[in-house]
C-alpha cells in the first residue's frame, strides 16, 4: 500500500519531505539566526524564513559575515576609540566623552550591557564589533539602540538617559586607558586590527571628523608624540584652523538658527538646497532638549556655509558618486558618464552598502566590482557624493539616520580631504506616494531633514536635488519618472544640471596646504598616498568669489 502510494505521487512526497526539512530548519532557527525576520506563523510558513534568510546570506548554520561590513564596523570602532582617547580639554569633556564612549560601545549589542568592561582596551572595542555585526544583520533594531546613543542625550531613546551618569564615569576611565594604549604608538592598534591598519595610510586612519571641535584635536595633537599620529592630527588642525573662515574660504554665508522658521521651511517639500542645509535641530532634539552647542563633532558649527556655485563638468573629474539605483541611473543615462566615478547599484542601502562588491565605473575603465571601502581606499577623491535612502524607507528613520552618519564617518575617515556631499533623497511622484504607505514624500522629507543636519558647512554639505526636479507640491512630475521613483533617462540631465549648479568650490590653497604639511612631515611612506590624490584642481580653480 505504502509502496504503491510512493509510486503514485513521487513529487508530492518529495516536496513534503523537503518541505519538512526546511520547516524544521526555520523553526530551529527562528529565535537565533532568523530572529531578525518578522514572521507571522498564521500566514507565513516557517520555511519561508529559510528562504528570506538565504536572500540575505543568512543560513540555518549561521550568517555569512560580510568582510566589508565587518571592516567598516572596525573602522568605526577604532575611530570612536581614538576619539575617546584624545580629548583632554575640559570644556567639552562632559558632554562629549560619554558620547564617545557610547560610540565605542557600538560594538555591544544593545541587549547586553557590558559597559563596565568596555573601553578598557582597543581590543575590546573591536571584538564586540564583530558581535554587533552578526546580530546587526539580523536585528537592525537592536543596532539602532546601540548606535543611536551616539547622539547627545537620549533624544530618541529615552531609555538612554539613565545610563548617562554611569557613562561619564566610564568615559573618564576609558579615555585614560585608551590614550595609554595609544601613546606607545600605533603598534598596539596595528596588532589588534591588522587589516585595517596596514591597508590604510596613517593619516587616513587618524583622519576623523574632528573638524567640528578644533580644541579637541589641538590638544590631542599636542599630547601625542608619535610622529605619524601627530602629523595627521596637525594636518587636520590646519584645516580646522582655517575653518572659521578667513583666508582661503570664500566668504561664508552665515545662517542663524531660527528653529521655528527653518522647521517650517524644511517641512515644505521643496526647499532650496541652501536652505535645506540649515540644521534643523528640531528633528534631532525634539521638544525642549535642544542643547546650546551641538556636542557631536559631525554636526555643524551651525550656520556656516560655503556658497553653492556653478561649475563645469570638469569639476566632477575627481569626484566619486556613491549610491543606489538612482545614482546608477545617473551613471547610465546622464552625461556624467565617462566624466566621473561611480559606485552604485540598485537596492544599495546604508544597511548593506559595505557588504558586497558593487559595480564601480571610473572614466576610461570598464565596469569592475569593488567594495565601497576599497573604492574609498584606493584613491583619494576631492568630492564624494553620497546618495542613499530610498531603499531604507521601510526601516526606522532613526536607524537609517544613524547608519547614514556612520557611512559619512567612514567616508570622512578614508577620504580626509574630500568635500562630502550628502544628497537629499529624491522624492517620488505624487501618484506613487499616494498609494504607498512607505515610499512617500512625507517620509522622504522627514529623512532629508535629518540628513541636512549632517552638513557642517565646512567639508560636509547637504544638497537637495528636489529643488530641481519637483513640482510646486513637492512631487516628481509623473512625466519625469515612469515608475514613480526613478528619473527617466532623459530626465537625468536635470540632476546633472543641478549638480553643476550646486557645487562647493574650494580654492587651490585649501587643497594644497594641508597636503604640503602632511607630506613634509610624513616623509616617503606618505608620498604614495599623495600621489594617489587627484592631480589637478585646474578646472575648478576659478577662484571662488565672495557672494
Amino acid at each position: 500500500m505504502k509502496k504503491n502510494h510512493k509510486l503514485r505521487s513521487p513529487l508530492l512526497i518529495s516536496i513534503l519531505v523537503t518541505g519538512a526539512v526546511f520547516c524544521a530548519a526555520g523553526i530551529a532557527g527562528k529565535n537565533t539566526v532568523y530572529a531578525g525576520y518578522a514572521q507571522d506563523p498564521v500566514f507565513e510558513p516557517y520555511l519561508s524564513l529559510v528562504f528570506k534568510g538565504a536572500a540575505d546570506e543568512v543560513y540555518p548554520w549561521g550568517a555569512k559575515e560580510s568582510a566589508g561590513a565587518q571592516e567598516a564596523m572596525q573602522l568605526l570602532a577604532q575611530q570612536s576609540a581614538e576619539e575617546a582617547g584624545s580629548p583632554e580639554d575640559k570644556e567639552a569633556a562632559e558632554v562629549k566623552e560619554p558620547i564617545n564612549n557610547k560610540t565605542a560601545e557600538n560594538g555591544k549589542t544593545a541587549g547586553e550591557n557590558k559597559s563596565a568592561e568596555d573601553g578598557e582596551t582597543e581590543k575590546d572595542d573591536s571584538d564586540p564589533s564583530k558581535d554587533e555585526k552578526i546580530t546587526g544583520e539580523n536585528e537592525p533594531a537592536e543596532d539602532t539602540e546601540a548606535e543611536e546613543e551616539n547622539e547627545p542625550a537620549g533624544e530618541k531613546e529615552p531609555a538612554g538617559e539613565k545610563e548617562t551618569a554611569e557613562d561619564i564615569k566610564q568615559a573618564e576611565e576609558k579615555s585614560e586607558t585608551a590614550s595609554q594604549q595609544k601613546d606607545p604608538g600605533n603598534d598596539s592598534a596595528g596588532q589588534q586590527i591588522p587589516e585595517s591598519m596596514e591597508e590604510l595610510p596613517d593619516s587616513v586612519v587618524l583622519g576623523e571628523e574632528e573638524e567640528g571641535s578644533p580644541d579637541t584635536v589641538q590638544s590631542a595633537a599636542a599630547e601625542a608624540d608619535a610622529a605619524a599620529a601627530a602629523s595627521a592630527q596637525e594636518m587636520k588642525e590646519q584645516i580646522i584652523v582655517e575653518k572659521p573662515g578667513e583666508k582661503h574660504i570664500p566668504a561664508p554665508v552665515v545662517y542663524t538658527i531660527d528653529s521655528g522658521g527653518i522647521t517650517e521651511a524644511v517641512c515644505n517639500p521643496v526647499v532650496p538646497a541652501i536652505e535645506y542645509g540649515n540644521v534643523n535641530r528640531g528633528y534631532l532634539f525634539p521638544n525642549s532638549q535642544i542643547p546650546e552647542k551641538d556636542p557631536d563633532p559631525i554636526f555643524a558649527e551651525n550656520g556656516i556655509y560655503y556658497p553653492l556655485r556653478e561649475v563645469d563638468d570638469s569639476y566632477f573629474a575627481d569626484a566619486l558618486f556613491i549610491g543606489d539605483s538612482r545614482t546608477q541611473g545617473l551613471y547610465l543615462y546622464s552625461e556624467m558618464k565617462g566624466r566621473t566615478t561611480f559606485i552604485a547599484k540598485e537596492s544599495v542601502s546604508v544597511f548593506n552598502i559595505f557588504d558586497k562588491a558593487l559595480p564601480f565605473y571610473a572614466p576610461g575603465q570598464g565596469e569592475v566590482r569593488k567594495t565601497v571601502l576599497d573604492a574609498l581606499r584606493e584613491k583619494q577623491y576631492r568630492k564624494v557624493y553620497v546618495s542613499v535612502g530610498v531603499n531604507e524607507l521601510g526601516s526606522a528613520a532613526a536607524e537609517y539616520f544613524t547608519r547614514f552618519k556612520d557611512l559619512i564617518r567612514i567616508v570622512r575617515q578614508l577620504q580626509p580631504d574630500a568635500i562630502i556631499y550628502v544628497q537629499g533623497i529624491m522624492h517620488v511622484t505624487g501618484s506613487y506616494a499616494q498609494k504607498n504607505a512607505v515610499y512617500n514624500n512625507t517620509n522622504i522629507v522627514e529623512r532629508n531633514k535629518a540628513l541636512a543636519t549632517l552638513a557642517n558647512g565646512h567639508d560636509i554639505f547637504y544638497i537637495d536635488l528636489n529643488s530641481a526636479v519637483c513640482d510646486a507640491e513637492g512631487n516628481i512630475p509623473a512625466e519625469l519618472a515612469y515608475d514613480g521613483v526613478h528619473l527617466k533617462a532623459s530626465s537625468y540631465k536635470l540632476w546633472h544640471q543641478f549638480l553643476r549648479e550646486n557645487a562647493i568650490v574650494r580654492s587651490e590653497a585649501d587643497w594644497q596646504e594641508p597636503k604640503a604639511e602632511a607630506a613634509a612631515q610624513e616623509g616617503a611612506a606618505e608620498d604614495a598616498v599623495l600621489e594617489n590624490t587627484p592631480g589637478g584642481e585646474e578646472a575648478v580653480s576659478q577662484a571662488p568669489v565672495a557672494e
Partner: protein
C-alpha cells in the same frame, strides 16, 4: 495576508491550500460544494473584504434568476431537441461537443481547416503524447461517441487532461484533422445552440433576441434576460467607475466571475445542463477560489459540482505537477522578464534604441504569456488536486500558425466564451461575409474592452480583429500554402499587438512605435545599441528559457516523464527555487521594489 489571493504566494501555497485540501477531502461528499463555497469566500475576503459582499450578492441573485433561466431552457428543449442523449451527458460534454461541431463553421475556427496541415504535422510528432481525458469524461465521451464519433473526438480540447492510463501517455491534438470531417455533422446541433444562445450576447442583443423569439413568450425567459442584463450592467458600471474615478474601486476578479455567471445563465437557458444545479453547486462554481480572481473561465458543466470526485492520489500528484510548473513559469520567468519591461519604462521610451525597443516588445510578450499561463496552470492544477478536470487555458499559442490560430490557443476559455456567447448568437459566419466580418469585429472590440477601458485596449481589439478578418479572407490562400507566413505573423505581429496592449498612454504608445520603427518619426536608424547589449546580456537566459518553453514538445515531455526520478528531482528543485522568490517578494508584486 492580502497575498493569499495571489496563487503564487507562500501564504496561499503553504497555508490556504493545504488546509483547504485537507478539509475538502475529509468532508463528506455532500458537503464538498459547501467547503468550496466557504473556503472561496474566505479566500476572496482575504483579498477584498468589501467586495466579497458583492460576490455573495451576485451569487444569490444569479442563482435565483437562474431558476428562470432553467425553466426557459427546459421549456425550449423538447421542441429544439438538441440533446441526442440527455442521460449521460454532462454539460462539459455538451459544450465541447457543440463547440466541436460549431468550430469549423464558426468563423472563429474556420481557420482550423486551413491549419489542418501544419497542425497534423504538429500532431505527428506529438502523437505519443497525451492530452487525455479524465476517466469520468472519458466514460461519458464513450456514451456520446456512439453517435458523434468523430465529432466528439475532435472536441476541441478546451481542456487537455493528463492522466496516466495503463502507463501510456497519449496525445490527442486539439485540432484533429478529423474535426474537419465533423463539420458536416455539426450543423444539426448548431442550430439550436445558436438560437438559444442569442439572448446572452449582450443586453442589446438579448433584447433583440427576445424580440426574435417566437411570439408566445417562453416561460422563464424574462428571468434569463434580467439575469444577463444584471450581470452585464454590474460589469459595465464597475468598469466605468474604475475608469472615471479610481481603479481600486474595481472588484477583484469581477470580469472573470461575471463571465462565469453569464455563461451559467446562458447554459441554463440553452438547456445544456442535465439537472438543475443546487444553490451550493452554483455558489461553489461562481466563487471557486482558483478561478475567481483571474480565471480560467470554466463552464459550469466542466466542473464536477453535481457529482463530487473521489479522492485520488494520482489527481493530487497530477495537479501538483501543474502547480509546480505554473509556479516556476510565474516566478522564475514572468516576474524576472517583467523587470526588464519595467526597466525599459524607467529608461523612458524616448531614450531607448530600436534594438532595445524590440527586445522590450518580446519581453512584454513573454512576461504576459508566462505570467498568465503560469497562473492558469497553478489555478488549473489546484482544481485538479480537488478532483476536477484540467481546464486548459493556453495551448502553446506561440506554436500557432497565424493570428486566428493564436487566439484559439491563447486564453482559450475567454476565446471560447466570446465564441459561444457572442459570436455564434450573432450569427457566426453563417450569414455571409459582411455579417461575419461584423460579428468578428464586435467580438474583438468587446474583447478589447473587456481587458480594459482605455483607448489602447480598444485599438488592440480592433487591430487584432482586423488581422483576423484579413487572415480569414484575403490572406487565406497565403496562410494555407505558406505556413511560414502564419508563423511570422505569430512571432512579429503578435508581439507588436502586445505593445499596444501594454501601453495605455497613447502618445507614449506612439513614441514606442517610433522606436520600434525609426522611419515613423523620420529619425535615422543607427541608434546606438549599447542599451540593448547591456540589458540583453543580463536577461538572455530568461529569453532562452522562454523560447524553449514555447516549443510545445518541451512541456509535454515534462508531463510525460513526470514520474522519472530526475524529473521529480528537477520539479522539486523548481518548486523550492520558486518558493525562494515568492517568499522574498512577500507583498511586493514585483521584486523590483528594490531601488
Amino acid at each position: 495576508m492580502q497575498n493569499i489571493v495571489l496563487l503564487s504566494s507562500t501564504a496561499f501555497i503553504f497555508r490556504f491550500l493545504p488546509v483547504f485540501l485537507i478539509v475538502y477531502w475529509i468532508a463528506p461528499k455532500k458537503l464538498r460544494n459547501a467547503v468550496i463555497y466557504f473556503g472561496s469566500i474566505v479566500f476572496y475576503a482575504a483579498g477584498s473584504p468589501i467586495f466579497v459582499l458583492l460576490l455573495i450578492l451576485l451569487t444569490l441573485l444569479n442563482y435565483m434568476l437562474g431558476v428562470f433561466s432553467w425553466q426557459f431552457g427546459r421549456a425550449k428543449l423538447p421542441e429544439e431537441g438538441a440533446d441526442p442523449d440527455p442521460r449521460n451527458h454532462s454539460e462539459g460534454e455538451t459544450d465541447q461537443e457543440e463547440n466541436g461541431h460549431l468550430l469549423p463553421n464558426a468563423g472563429f475556427d474556420e481557420e482550423a481547416g486551413q491549419h489542418h496541415e501544419p497542425e497534423s504535422m504538429l500532431k505527428a510528432d506529438n502523437e505519443d503524447w497525451l492530452i487525455d481525458i479524465a476517466d469520468k469524461i472519458e466514460l461519458q465521451t464513450k456514451n456520446i461517441s456512439g453517435e458523434t464519433d468523430a465529432a466528439e473526438k475532435t472536441a476541441p480540447a478546451r481542456s487537455s487532461y493528463i492522466e496516466q492510463r495503463s502507463g501510456k501517455w497519449q496525445f490527442r491534438s486539439s485540432t484533429d484533422p478529423k474535426s474537419i470531417t465533423s463539420a458536416g455533422r455539426s450543423v444539426r446541433s448548431e442550430g439550436p445552440a445558436a438560437h438559444s444562445a442569442a439572448p446572452s450576447a449582450a443586453s442589446a442583443s438579448a433584447a433583440s433576441a427576445a424580440s426574435k423569439t417566437p411570439a408566445a413568450p417562453v416561460k422563464g425567459e424574462m428571468g434569463f434576460v434580467w439575469a444577463v442584463a444584471l450581470d452585464i450592467a454590474v460589469l459595465i458600471v464597475f468598469k466605468v467607475v474604475a475608469l472615471k474615478w479610481n481603479a481600486e474601486l474595481f472588484p477583484l476578479g469581477l470580469s472573470f466571475y461575471i463571465f462565469k455567471m453569464i455563461s451559467y445563465q446562458a447554459d441554463l437557458a440553452m438547456g445544456k445542463l442535465e439537472k438543475q444545479p443546487s444553490f451550493m453547486q452554483t455558489a461553489a462554481y461562481f466563487t471557486l477560489f482558483t478561478q475567481v480572481t483571474q480565471g480560467p473561465i470554466m463552464r459550469f458543466g466542466e466542473g464536477n459540482f453535481a457529482e463530487p470526485a473521489k479522492f485520488s492520489l494520482d489527481k493530487l500528484e497530477e495537479g501538483l505537477v501543474y502547480v509546480v510548473l505554473g509556479l516556476g513559469m510565474k516566478t522564475l520567468l514572468a516576474d524576472r522578464i517583467a523587470i526588464l519591461w519595467n526597466e525599459i519604462g524607467k529608461i523612458g521610451y524616448e531614450s531607448i534604441s530600436t534594438g532595445l525597443a524590440w527586445l522590450g516588445a518580446y519581453s512584454y510578450t513573454f512576461e504576459l504569456y508566462f505570467d498568465f499561463w503560469g497562473y492558469s496552470l497553478i489555478a488549473a492544477g489546484v482544481t485538479v488536486m480537488m478532483g476536477f478536470p484540467f481546464i486548459e487555458n493556453f495551448r502553446h499559442p506561440y506554436a500557432a500558425v497565424g493570428i486566428g490560430d493564436f487566439y484559439r490557443r491563447w486564453h482559450a476559455t475567454l476565446g471560447s466564451w466570446f465564441r459561444d456567447y457572442i459570436y455564434i448568437p450573432l450569427g457566426g459566419s453563417r450569414e455571409g461575409k459582411l455579417k461575419t466580418i461584423r460579428n468578428l469585429m464586435v467580438v474583438w472590440v468587446l474583447t478589447g474592452l473587456w481587458h480594459g477601458g482605455t483607448l489602447n485596449f480598444l485599438i488592440w481589439g480592433v487591430v487584432v480583429g482586423i488581422m483576423i478578418v484579413l487572415e480569414k479572407y484575403p490572406l487565406k490562400p497565403v496562410l494555407k500554402h505558406v505556413p511560414m507566413f502564419g508563423r511570422l505573423e505569430t512571432w512579429i505581429l503578435i508581439p507588436l499587438s502586445w505593445v499596444i496592449f501594454a501601453i495605455s498612454d497613447l502618445p507614449q504608445l506612439w513614441l514606442y512605435f517610433t522606436r520600434l520603427f525609426p522611419m515613423l518619426s523620420g529619425t535615422p536608424v543607427g541608434q546606438e545599441m549599447s542599451d540593448l547589449i547591456r540589458l540583453g546580456s543580463l536577461y538572455w537566459p530568461y529569453f532562452a528559457a522562454a523560447l524553449v518553453l514555447c516549443v510545445p514538445g518541451v512541456f509535454k515531455w515534462i508531463l510525460k516523464n513526470r514520474r522519472h526520478p530526475l524529473i521529480v528531482l528537477a520539479l522539486t528543485a523548481l518548486f523550492w527555487v520558486s518558493v525562494y522568490y515568492s517568499a522574498n517578494m512577500s507583498g511586493n508584486t514585483f521584486m523590483y521594489l528594490n531601488f
